[in-house]
């Protein structure tokens, strides 16, 4: 330790207690804390200030450093996850070493969570004392710089992924766009119109899709999934599993002759893209503008795969010999510097609410089904039909299905109100039916959204404020017979109403993808209770994650409409670009190191490192740590039986001192 200290002269600690406006000051007695700090050993300066993170605040620290009053800095303010960077920089600018610094978190961990002023102040003092007694044993450190690989991987080919990919590619970066479905386009490709402008979804999306296809900087891998991710910011290695589509992508020209030629004369398989409203053949393209426009064979239903006795008319008819039944899964491995996750969402499974009769009554549909139905390119060519083929004379649109409900999802899905209004408009337009909207609260925050609501109010659509209780087919009176009856309280009138309708649209909410949890583990990021990927900071780092170099775009981070997804995709792209253009990343120096002369070669540590950063050097007879591979968890240090391993910024000594400090005084 004395060695460490001598590198920076005898310790002179400056303690700076922040009021954070009143955020800290209103529960913690800042002056008392400062006085207390002044009384601690090695403390030569103790000051309080309204906003330490402000320029003048930082200037105070820098001045004290320049005046040689201090050579170590403790700032008692917010969480280190918030401002450690800021103050380390300030320390460096002032001529100190950025790591002769320690932060005491007296806001998130004290003032914001404590009621009793006295106890809050005591706790703050304890944390300050801990920081001081620890920082005395800090040593100057340097950050390692590692270069950032300029390529980027984008996972998910919905509108968010597409937009991010084009932004990066246009900036001249090489992009790998990975999509699990046979085509990109995501949910947006399924919609007919988009709110509030009612412009045609396909018209604005498909140009972007083909741009992706043709962009020289974009490698598009559809029908593919990320299998494995290793490495770290700037230097990720990603393995991608490329599922066989049994059609050579480079050969197929998308003439679709194979599909006509298929021995199945009529389509029999429920069509995923049309959410089961229509049928497809075993060889198919999801939809006419699919990108890439390459056929896929579904081995589950293809006769050849089931019996190996098909006459393979598809292969015969193909002039390019693109059909290849021998294709197998390929693993592609690439190196990228950053990753953008845009894996999107899935819609709520309406069968989970039995009272709404989805799957029981033929004329109860989900909003996504209706999106397809009203889509001119959809299964009904844009016609809204009931199960019996007739036009509905009355339609009920039920909001908040699978949202704002403790039994399903507590959160508001954010897009349903607006798309319900859109569907109300389209249904009215296509069917002239009586359209009822049943809502709890009408949520239309967004540019032109409230205006759109107002427009619908004019279009004599009925609005009933009340969450639908049940949908059933029993009649109380004549006009209800043969219809679906909505039972709901019109809460604005305070009366329970029974409203018979021909068709019900369930405005299902948004949910994390079924495999979101596996995905986030692959990329080593966290998620919220509900399973949405967790951003680094809800306000200040909304597209970053706790894993550097991994960014979020679109609905995988939480329910979002198209404009927000695109905006976030742009932001994620910008973050990635910033990382790439800086060209390097500075790694936290909190890595482990081996004092090789003290190592007894017991081998305890070697197996413990998940990154293979520790190897045993048989010539030195010592375990050696590869600083570049070490990520600084400290597991090996904690288990080194003879204390030969240590961790920068978390040496045994520093932690023991922190423990002493946190308990010694208060």
């Amino acid at each position: 330790m004395s060695a460490e200290m001598s590198t920076n002269g005898a310790p002179k600690v400056g303690v700076y207690v922040c009021h954070c406006g009143i955020n800290i000051a209103h529960t913690v007695d800042v002056n008392a804390c400062t006085a207390f700090a002044a009384s601690l050993p090695y403390v030569t300066v103790a000051r309080e200030y309204k906003f330490m993170c402000s320029d003048p605040g930082q200037e105070i620290i820098q001045q004290d450093l320049r005046d040689g009053k201090i050579n170590r800095v403790v700032v008692a303010s917010c969480s280190p996850l918030m401002h450690e960077g800021t103050f380390r920089k300030a320390t460096a600018v002032g001529g100190g070493n950025a790591f002769m610094f320690q932060m005491a978190n007296i806001r998130e961990h004290v003032s914001w969570v404590t009621l009793d002023k006295e106890m809050a102040t005591d706790k703050a003092k304890a944390l300050i004392a801990a920081a001081v007694s620890r920082v005395v044993h800090h040593a100057p450190l340097v950050r390692n710089r590692v270069p950032v690989h300029p390529d980027v991987m984008i996972v998910g080919g919905g509108i968010a992924g597409i937009h991010a990919a084009l932004t990066m590619a246009d900036a001249g970066k090489k992009v790998y766009l990975v999509e699990r479905e046979p085509t990109i386009g995501g949910h947006m490709a399924k919609f007919d119109k988009t709110f509030p402008t009612l412009d045609c979804s396909a018209c604005i999306l498909t140009p972007k899709m083909s741009a992706v296809r043709s962009h020289p900087n974009i490698t598009l891998w559809t029908y593919s999934e990320v299998a494995e991710v290793s490495g770290f910011v700037g230097n990720f290695k990603v393995k991608v599993r490329r599922k066989p589509r049994y059609v050579k992508e480079d050969q197929c020209v998308g003439c679709l002759d194979c599909i006509d030629a298929c021995i199945y004369k009529t389509a029999k398989v429920p069509d995923e893209f049309n959410v089961g409203l229509s049928k497809r053949k075993p060889i198919y393209v999801p939809f006419p503008q699919a990108t890439p426009l390459v056929a896929v064979i579904d081995p589950e239903t293809c006769i050849e795969f089931k019996t190996h006795r098909c006459k393979k008319s598809c292969a015969e008819v193909c002039q390019k010999d693109a059909i290849d039944f021998t294709q197998t899964e390929q693993i592609a491995e690439v190196e990228v510097g950053s990753i953008i996750l845009a894996t999107g969402f899935k819609t709520f499974d309406a069968t989970r609410i039995a009272r709404y009769g989805y799957g029981k009554y033929a004329n109860v549909y989900t909003s996504l089904e209706v999106e397809r139905m009203v889509n001119a390119a959809g299964p009904t060519a844009g016609e809204v039909k009931l199960a019996d083929g007739s036009k509905p004379k009355s339609v009920a649109i039920v909001h908040c299905v699978g949202s704002r409900d403790a039994h399903t999802n507590r959160y508001c899905s954010r897009v349903c109100c607006m798309y319900s209004l859109k569907l109300a408009h389209l249904l009215k337009e296509r069917t002239e039916a009586e359209v009822y909207n049943f809502y709890i609260d009408m949520r239309t925050p967004g540019k032109g959204y409230e205006e759109f609501y107002d427009r619908l109010l004019q279009e004599n659509v009925h609005f009933v404020r009340g969450r639908v209780a049940e949908i059933s087919d029993w009649a109380m009176e004549k006009q209800e017979e043969g219809k679906l009856t909505i039972r709901v309280e019109d809460t604005l009138v305070g009366v329970v109403r029974r409203i018979p309708v021909d068709m019900v649209v369930l405005s299902v909410g948004l949910e994390p993808q079924a495999d979101a949890d596996d995905v986030r583990r692959k990329f080593n990021i966290s998620c919220s209770h509900e399973g949405w990927f967790l951003e680094r900071h809800p306000k200040l780092a909304p597209v970053s994650t706790f894993t550097d170099g991994v960014f979020l775009a679109g609905a995988c981070q939480g329910p979002k409409d198209i404009p927000d997804s695109v905006a976030q995709a742009g932001a994620a792209a910008a973050e990635a670009l910033a990382l790439i253009d800086r060209g390097y990343v500075e790694l936290e120096p909190n890595t482990a190191y081996s004092r090789e002369e003290l190592c007894s070669s017991c081998h305890t540590c070697v197996a413990l490192c998940p990154y293979g950063a520790i190897t045993f050097d048989t010539t030195k007879h010592a375990a050696v740590v590869n600083g570049a591979l070490c990520k600084g968890c400290g597991t090996c240090v904690a288990s080194c039986p003879s204390g030969a391993l240590q961790q920068n910024l978390f040496t045994d000594e520093q932690i023991f001192e922190e423990i002493k400090g946190v308990l010694k005084y208060v």
């Binding site: 969450r467 309280e489 305070g494």
Partner: protein
């Protein structure tokens, strides 16, 4: 000339009772009252809401706002058949049925329940019967009930009573348990317990030190 016979519909803070909500939330099951989002699912589910003077949703709102008198004297709680449709469907997991019970108990305790419905009479009869014998005796119970409430209608039901009697599905005989003393001691001890629960809201006011 005609005079305007309107009335002042405003409700003054002084008319409201803000402790009422705490009283309700303090009962087991009442905890979540304050998370109500007034969606009306309860009323929509309720098979009896159509006969109520206030829908269950309104009752919740009124309790929250402190309309003690209105709630306790309303018919709503007495129309509740406790079928729990509201409770299981409530998106905020508010146990509305329990809240109805709580309101009923308070109304009976304070004697402010609506006098028209015999529901509370039934409850009372039932209560005494069980206190006495440990069991409820439907025959005598119904009999007394009708005597108390609508003697005239008795005739209308005489047929039914007779039919039940003939089919051995009802009898004038009073069923009762053997170890009555045991039950009495049990209930006595409970009675003497002063059972005070605190509403989560008042809990919230002073978080653990």
């Amino acid at each position: 000339m005609e005079q305007w016979h309107g009335w002042d519909k405003v409700s003054y803070e002084s008319d409201l009772d803000h402790q009422f909500a705490d009283e309700i939330t303090s009962i087991p099951g009442g905890e979540k009252l304050f998370s109500c989002i007034q969606c009306g699912t309860c009323s929509g589910m309720c098979p009896l809401s159509t006969y109520m003077d206030f829908t269950p949703r309104q009752i919740v709102a009124m309790i929250r706002a402190g309309f003690r008198g209105e709630v306790l004297s309303s018919y709503t709680t007495w129309l509740c058949a406790s079928c729990y449709s509201c409770t299981v469907a409530c998106p905020q997991e508010i146990k509305i049925t329990e809240i109805m019970y709580a309101a009923k108990r308070i109304a009976l305790r304070d004697g402010v329940h609506p006098k028209r419905f015999p529901a509370q009479v039934l409850a009372g009869e039932f209560f005494d019967g069980v206190q006495r014998t440990g069991r409820s005796n439907e025959g005598p119970l119904l009999f007394r009930l009708f005597l108390k409430t609508k003697p005239l209608k008795m005739l209308g039901y005489a047929g039914l009573g007779l039919g039940l009697f003939r089919r051995g599905r009802i009898s004038a005989k009073i069923e009762s348990i053997k170890r009555k003393g045991e039950l009495r001691t049990l209930l006595k001890t409970i009675e003497n317990e002063h059972w005070v629960r605190r509403s989560p809201r008042s809990e919230h006011k002073e978080t653990t030190k």
